[in-house]
Symmetry: C2
Subunit: 649 residues, 2 copies
């Protein structure tokens, strides 16, 4: 080594005896386990606020404030905030009443249940919820799922009693499922549904919901139970003689009115209340119109009698024994998952206003709202986007706006239900269609196509699955594509060859930087993933192919033969027994070819595992470096290369 | 900037106008798709040998050699290799005959099928297989699965005909499944079963197989159909008055003899043939002994008549129509998966002899062997470890040893079957038990416990699932634990803060290197995973917690306030639309706090996605660097920090 020119500026002393990369000291198993569990289930450290306080009393108060977020904002609640929340709450209520009735019809449930569902769950959320912007209520997709999933077990037309009880039970299970996920801090399971799949699924579901409204718009008496586009079109066009032009005209007028107000409000955001109040306005105008012309005698169906009074108890209707329980359980889990979309809505508003929403706490809040709701004649509620956007636009300050909305709906339930007697169903259909048109997210789909074709395929697949077959198939496709995507990500990590950047000690990917040059006699590979059972055998294959190709190249160009393979482990976050086996096998097979293996920048986790599995002993500390450059320089110095000139370009 | 001391040695010119990290030029979509598909399904570039040839004729020959590996070694096959393969083949056959009969009994199939299964499939594998060391045959675990999965549909005791036909059909489907996986190049699905789970599952299955042998050892007539340890123990001890001491004594003698020869051969590896021939020896001695003392009259059950002649056709027995087909299909898929263990066996021998085995080609070979086997009265075959180890020890050189074994078994079938008339069943039980004791991999379990506690839990869970409940449950636990492990890996990537190493421009993890120091005013975070939908929201949470904690720390210590957050993207292999959204949101929320965001060393894939999603425009080229050090230096220069001294420690 003496007398050889020093290649580049070695920044760490080479071969001083002590290992360059230390093996971390052993820690007790329970300690490690605790740290892992904390990082997995409590990445946001939710109890920080509680732990920071001194004394039992203060901690109890902090814990209560953690459990009931309303205790955080109530003490400093101002009159100004109350005024804002009052306005927002009343505005949302004027949307909630017609939407609630419409969606309940969509769910094949009594219309009054849509109003019930805007009362009790909203109160629960006001106490438990940590978002300031969400408005609680039913959604179109959630409503559509009930007849789709429960209809076979209890056809709503033939056995409305059983169907309603099953709906309560499914809501109960959805609540238990949501709260359970939250309490067990498993909120992250929702992350496994990719955004792309959700966009496609929601688009497909909105299409299906719109198609279902053709029944109401055309005033048809009989309709198909299927939701796919083919069956619906066949049902519509096979009974053209039953189309009612009166219904169609009224519906189209309403729809045009609603769309125009939406367009107007979008142009002038300050006039948001125009579109927010439009559904109620069309409801009122439509009802008066039908009352005046006796529309019910001219083929325009009306809602009819609505019971007066707030939510009756339904706790005794829950079906908690087989055989009907299983279908309710399944429906509960699926709708519970779909209902979690509300969390995403809350998060996006929180993001834009720069405050924090805790996923798991939100799940508990929604879950409790649904559990209490299922005992008080409500069905699945969540935080729908349309209603929450109106709430935000109306200037809500806290979850108090939900309480205001609940009170307004309660007043409607107590005193105003008779007014809905003459409300035409076709107006409800128009309200649903106009709401659904906002769910289509074409710009998002275009963005997906531009940025990531695979994401777009997932989106399209989920959408077509819903439209052409049924909601369940669409959801399965969405989940399936998402999971396959994850597994592919995991099973096929990237390995790239690194080269030396000119005038620098940096080593960078040669496929990215054209000026990066390979070092003769050394192959530097970077692995960009944890090495574990799911990718170990792929990596084995891929790395040996890299080495073979390099050897063939060297043979062809008569260059310096391969002396050392350097693995840049900087990006290897973890390793398991299959991974350590891979390194061991690799070092064995390289040893047989008389090639040295070197590791650069292994993390502490990797060092520990390599040490425990005795692989470190096989490689030897001498060949483990803090950076790639050191490994290459050491190889060049050690392997007595004749043509050092090559490297001092 | 003028006049300020230069901090460290900046290795790239800072702010020259051109972007430091170039966005890769757009490539045609089909081009990218092709590259992706190639990397996913053909990581080993299997057609390289074919593509390298010139001319159609030479390519056709190369393709044939690729399809039929025997064409690779046959042309240069030597007499010396033939001699080695002859010795190895005959040695394996002497093990294959007793093992085949034993395992067929375990599968509740006619004993002769065990011999059939060592004939035809072995010939197919000799032509198609690419491993030189595997010996083809039935396995204990595979055999046990048949009664476990098919027994309910067709109890072997009551309806042996239907049961046999279902076994053929299941073998057929297993073959189709295996060949299909191979042809579709989906061999990597097997990788998703972690090594740890397999060790546990095999250990559990071996326990169950041993427990089942208590029936034969104790000479019991009636036994339970359940496989769990509780049921078996109850069945054994509820009929102590039916235990036959003659059977037990003979069985124990055999077992002790077999174990002693195993022990002896392990001590002296050159005498491997002692343990390889021991089963046949005990079979012969046991049969002669029973014949002489008329053991069948003293409670020692014997095999009885075996049909003479090689495999009859069973193609017409395949049941390819409902209702029975479905259970056969399910059994086929499960046993087909289990049968793939042979590939792992082949790989490990190939590894030690330093040659390559192609997973997908092996799958096709095993699949074809099973398809052909199912039409010639064979049931599920694979490459069992015990038999292959004997093959290797006996000095096999090529797959020809399988052909030799097949011929030897055929000779047995044609002329020697009457000799097995008096073979006692208890000897077969002893042979199975002795073989199963080799399947337990205690050292592997101990290594798992030492290196990775979570892996050990997976191992234990799968083992207990098999032993305490049934094989199906054990398998589900193994798959479940493996998948959860993958999802956790994906959902919880590591983020670590980096610090500057003294006297260097390197930035390294501060939790690993105590001497790494944070740079005042800059928070450097490294993300060690592709950023995509499954971890984007976790990363959002975790990164914002890092920033909050850093801000709190700064507030407490009155240090320089946070100026810049540098994300080291060197390890981020890919990004999807959720990931770009995360970067965008992060940059927005940091902007609101008046903190700059900088990216260091993003890969080309990441740069492309960021560019297409317009996030790059938001961050600005100025804040994208080739290395972390540059980002920090640039921040320090740009943000006009008063206390530069801090950095020149």
């Amino acid at each position: 080594m003496v007398g050889m020119p020093v290649v580049d500026v070695p920044e760490t002393p080479v071969a001083t005896g002590a290992p360059r990369v230390p093996v971390p000291p052993a820690r007790p198993f329970l300690h490690i386990l605790g740290a892992h569990l904390r990082e997995t289930f409590f990445p946001d450290d939710p109890f920080r606020a509680v732990a920071r306080e001194d004394g039992h009393g203060r901690r109890a108060v902090a814990a209560l404030r953690y459990l009931f977020p309303c205790l955080q904002w109530l003490p400093c609640y101002t009159l100004g905030a109350l005024r804002s929340d009052l306005i927002a709450g009343v505005t949302v209520a004027s949307l909630a009443v017609p939407q609630g009735i419409s969606y309940a019809k969509l769910a094949d449930l009594p219309p009054i249940m849509g109003l019930y569902s805007s009362f009790v769950p909203a109160l629960v959320y006001a106490v438990m919820g940590s978002s300031r912007d969400l408005a609680v209520g039913t959604t179109a997709v959630g409503s559509l799922l009930f007849p789709a999933l429960l209809g076979k077990e209890a056809p709503p037309a033939e056995n409305p009693e059983l169907y309603m009880h099953l709906a309560f039970t499914a809501t109960f299970f959805a609540g238990v499922f949501q709260a359970g996920l939250g309490i067990l801090r498993l909120g992250f399971v929702v992350d496994f549904l990719s955004q792309a799949a959700i966009v496609g699924f929601m688009g497909g579901a909105a299409t299906v919901v719109c198609l279902q409204q053709l029944k109401g718009l055309l005033g048809l008496q009989h309709f198909t139970r299927a939701t796919d586009v083919v069956a619906v079109m066949r049902a519509v066009f096979s009974q053209t003689h039953h189309w009612r032009w009166e219904s169609l005209v009224l519906g189209c007028c309403c729809l045009i009115f609603l769309l125009m107000t939406r367009f107007f409000s979008k142009r002038r955001p300050r006039l948001f209340w125009v579109s927010a109040a439009a559904p109620l306005a069309s409801l009122v105008v439509g009802s008066i119109f039908v009352y005046l012309i006796h529309g019910q005698n001219h083929g325009i169906e009306v809602i009819g009698n609505l019971k007066k009074g707030i939510n009756p108890s339904s706790a005794k209707s829950l079906i908690l024994s087989p055989p009907h329980m299983m279908v309710a359980l399944k429906t509960g889990i699926i709708t519970g998952l779909i209902g979690l979309e509300g969390i995403a809505v809350g998060r996006s508003f929180a993001m834009s206003k720069n405050y924090h929403v805790d996923n798991n706490k939100e799940m508990v809040a929604f879950g409790l709202a649904n559990i209490v709701g299922s005992c008080t004649s409500c069905y699945l509620t969540t935080g729908p986007f349309s209603r929450s956007a109106v709430n935000v636009n109306a200037g809500c300050k806290t979850a108090m706006s939900n309480a205001v909305m609940a009170v307004a709906v309660a007043v409607t339930l107590l005193f105003l239900t008779p007014l809905f007697h003459y409300t035409p169903l076709v107006v409800l259909s128009a309200i649903i269609i106009s709401a659904m048109l906002g769910v289509f997210d074409f710009p998002a789909a275009v963005r997906l196509w531009k940025v990531d074709k695979l994401d777009f395929c997932a989106c399209l697949g989920a959408c077509l699955g819903v439209v052409l077959d049924n909601i369940g198939i669409g959801l399965s496709i969405a989940v399936g594509i998402s999971v396959v995507r994850i597994l592919l990500f995991v099973a096929r990590p990237r390995t790239t060859a690194l080269g030396k950047m000119p005038n620098s000690t940096m080593y960078r990917r040669m496929d990215q930087y054209a000026m990066a040059e390979s070092v003769p006699g050394v192959l530097v590979l970077q692995v960009d993933a944890p090495i574990f059972f799911a990718n170990a055998s792929y990596l084995r294959e891929r790395i040996s192919r890299w080495i073979n190709e390099e050897e063939e190249r060297i043979k062809a160009t008569c260059e310096q033969s391969l002396q050392c393979v350097v693995l840049d482990m900087g990006a290897v976050a973890g390793i398991d027994t299959s991974g350590t086996k891979l390194i061991e096998d690799l070092s064995k097979s390289l040893h047989m070819k008389n090639i040295q293996i070197a590791l650069a920048n292994p993390g502490s986790e990797v060092m520990k595992k390599l040490d425990m599995s005795k692989v470190l002993m096989r490689i030897d500390d001498e060949w483990i470096f803090q950076k790639v450059g050191d490994a290459c320089d050491y190889t060049l110095l050690n392997c007595k290369i004749a043509t050092v000139q090559h490297n001092i370009v």
